[in-house]
Amino acid sequence: MSTEVEQRVRRALAGRAAQITPERLRPALPPTATTARRSWLAWWRPLLVVAAVLVGAVFAVRGEHDAPLRRVPDQPAATVPSPPAPEPTASSAPSASPAAVPEPTSTPAGPPPGPVEGAPTGLPSGPVATPTAPMASP
């Protein structure tokens, strides 16, 4: 039991829907084909994030373990150059210098022996050695 308006509505909707034929539709792929690529890309994103987090964690753990190991070799490096120069003050200086300023003392201590060893080829030591020899020989 339907009224005339209902019949007209039904007929108009059916006519409009009948205009949409399969030939008029654009060719389209099912969603598994279209979104598979996106999900494949998205599949790598969490992996990359996890890998980045793991790498970060490994570096953080290594940093914590390596930090004391690096300080240990620094101490001998600071004490090695100190004995040759200040032998008279060895009793007072070595105890304070490695703990207080290991790096600065080692670097200044390095250069002084350097120029001394390399001095024979340099100007200051050369003239000093050569004049003494001729002066003594005549």
Partner: protein, 194 residues
């Protein structure tokens, strides 16, 4: 000794979708559960596009709506659709919601930019429709979105009031009152034009 790593929920969903998409996605028609999404796509695409056209009036928008609804269904539930109780109702609801959004966007846009007057419909659209049908469709286009949804679901999809209420997620009484109000409006408009 077994190590158990608690995976985050998005990763689990991702792995599940990868596994389900690598499985054969098209199940036979005689399967027990709901049909696979590819089969559903081939079976329902045309009728859903027609449904969307009856709501939004133009074919390209209707095709986009249907494609988006299928893509959303696949993204959310995978290819096997085991977690969807009624995929057909799900798709109908999705198309109706998307059509409603499209119509709202269009109406708000037309509030600022009115459409050109005298825009002729496509020649293919004129072939099968008589003058009376065009009048009815024009009167339907003047209804509210909700009234139009009820009219289309009732007189083209041939759904019952209860099914319409389920699809639109409103009460059965709302469907009944909306339908009677829409019919009264149509009766008045079509009567006036006659």
């Amino acid at each position: 000794m077994t190590l158990v790593f608690p995976l985050p929920a998005p990763l689990l969903r991702l792995l599940r979708s990868v596994v389900s998409s690598s499985a054969p996605s098209v199940r036979g028609a005689g399967g027990d559960g709901p049909p696979a999404i590819n089969e559903l796509y081939h079976a329902r695409r045309l009728s859903l596009v027609r449904l969307a056209v009856l709501m939004v009036d133009d074919l390209p928008t209707a095709e986009d709506i249907v494609q988006d609804v299928f893509a959303a269904l696949y993204r959310r539930h995978g290819a096997d659709l085991e977690s969807v109780a009624d995929p057909h109702a799900y798709l109908t609801t999705g198309v109706m919601n998307a059509a409603r959004s499209a119509l709202r966007r269009r109406r708000s846009a037309r509030a600022y930019v009115p459409p050109r007057p005298g825009l002729a419909p496509a020649a293919e659209d004129e072939v099968l429709l008589g003058q009376g049908d065009r009048e009815v469709l024009a009167a339907l286009a003047e209804l509210t979105v909700r009234q139009r949804q009820v009219m289309v679901l009732r007189y083209w999809s041939e759904l019952s009031e209860r099914e319409i209420a389920d699809v639109l997620r409103v009460s059965r009484g709302t469907v009944k009152s909306t339908a009677s109000r829409a019919l009264a409006l149509l009766r008045g408009r079509l009567g006036e034009r006659r």
